[in-house]
Amino acid sequence: MATLLAPRRESGRWVQEDQQAGLFKVNREAFTSADVLAREREVIFDRSWLYLGHASELKNPNDYLTRRVGGRELIFNRDRKGTYQAFMNTCPHRGAQVAREPCGNAISFKCFYHGWAFNNNGKFATRSPVGTYPEDFGQDGSVDLARVPRIDSYRGFFFISYDPDIVALSDYLAGSREVIDLLADHSPNGMEIIGGAQEYSIRANWKLLVENSNDGFHAAETHETYFGYLIAEVGESILDDIKTLSQISAGIDLGNGHAMVETRAPWGRPIARSIASWGEQGKADEARMVAELQQRVGPERALRIADRDRNMGIFPNLVINDIMAVTVRTFYPETPSLMNVTSWALAPIGETPQARKRRLDNFLEFLGPGGFATPDDVEALESAQRGYAAAKFAPWNDISRGMRREQPRADDEAQMRAFWREWNRRMEDAQ
């Protein structure tokens, strides 16, 4: 099957970039081929830092949660001392999951299949009658729970890597660190994941959601009905706002395949930009938050935190969108044309009930499978995937928008090109 991947780089198998002409093309086979997916598992998902979870999800020592990351079942937990760890959730004996609840608090894990047990540092802790196993059985660690090769965190965001030799997380994150800093600084109390995750699937290639998550070009067209709702809620004034606001608009390459768009959108921001429908109370609350921000982080950062919207993709598959609410989203391919998505809402610890409600209302109005916008994104991605069946006759996606602009705008496609360059580099190098 590998022959399908030939010819090699010289001809630009998957990505063709012509700076001179201002053209950037991606071959649709990148979205449909089983061989491409197999290679992605090897050179992308197994050699990147992948999002595991947020520190706030494990509040206490011995807390754990189970999660599928990069196609493998994991346990993310804290030991008695509170240290964060990640293990493969598979019994070293015969393979079953040793933790089968979504989350809990446990000093040990016991496999339900044959009863092998492990302390929450992964150490083999099964008692068997003398003579059952050799005396030194397991002393070499071979029947401990397997550790995920690397785990590290940045400002509460935990990542794992299956590559023991990967660069340090902070180097890998490159320019995205500063954007995470802006998010982590929303509140002096730190940030937390709000209870409940939205889990859903999209019958489309995973890279379509990478593109869609920071695509400023599609908003007006795909989400016409959401903006219609916003006009009804906020008033006709947003139409003028949109014209003025569109001056603040940038697509930014953050290095290593990470990228974002930064804009000033017409919706309300829970931190901290009120809209008319939030009333006097909302206006006063938001003004107080802005004042607190200015004092704590200075006027320049306060402006970016309170008044700018950012959609960021961290290579390969973590999206952190700090928009009408904050969503953290990750997704994995099951097949070339099916992905599973998990989305969380992130919020300041200690937020007032009123502010929390505004945030969650904002989130649900736009985001998620029941929102006024995301279902139409899902429809668009699935529609594109169906279109790729004609790749033999219509082989190229165009990602050229704004290519010759000195500072690309949010409704250009520079952020997608940043992803595709890194994707292409890894895929081509692997040949």
């Binding site: 409940g196 939205q198 889990e199 099916l338 969380w344 929390r356 989130f363």
Partner: protein, 175 residues
């Protein structure tokens, strides 16, 4: 005397309970209106101030939308917008419209308070589009009041009996 008159001023009196068949007829009619995309008539079944909620799959029955992430947590105004949105061709996920069949069963009367009568039912909703049929199953909790002689929904909470929205990807229809 209308039923609302029967509620004492302090609002503690329990709402009078009708026969189960009355509630079944009401819910079967609601399902038919949705199957036929008669959304304005469907919305008219709701009393002003009513809520329509879909917590995330696997949530507890009493989870609250001001502290947990839902799929849908509409107050009356937003539910009105949801209906208006779904009527537009620019609601791309539902244009062209999907074909839907809703089965409603296991209707039970749980009790009654000043707000109305608590009804539970099970549902299976089949949505077909692009030659793919997705199935949504679960339980629905209703609070139904009699207002000026007509049954009206004060609250509808759809509790999905699924792990996750896999492989559906969206709740673009009204459940």
């Amino acid at each position: 005397m209308s039923v609302t008159d029967a509620v004492k001023p302090e609002g503690r009196a329990a709402h009078p309970v009708r026969s189960r068949a009355d509630y079944e007829d009401f819910l079967f009619n609601e399902a038919a209106l949705l199957d036929e995309w008669r959304l304005d008539e469907w919305f008219a079944l709701f009393a002003p101030g009513a809520t329509y909620e879909v917590p995330t799959a696997g949530s507890a029955v009493d989870v609250q939308s001001d502290s947990a992430l839902f799929y849908i947590a509409d107050d009356y105004a937003r539910l009105g917008h949801r209906v208006e949105r779904l009527k537009k061709p620019a609601a791309h996920a539902e244009w062209p419209r999907s074909n839907c069949v809703r089965l409603v069963g296991n209707v039970r009367i749980l009790g009654s308070d000043a707000d109305g009568v608590q009804i539970t039912s099970t549902f299976a909703t089949y949505r077909s589009k692009h030659n793919v049929t997705d199935t949504y199953v679960g339980h629905t909790r209703y609070t139904i009041a009699e207002i000026d002689g007509e049954l009206r929904i004060r609250a509808k909470r759809v509790l999905l009996g699924m792990n996750s929205l896999t492989p559906h990807g969206k709740i673009s229809i009204i459940l």
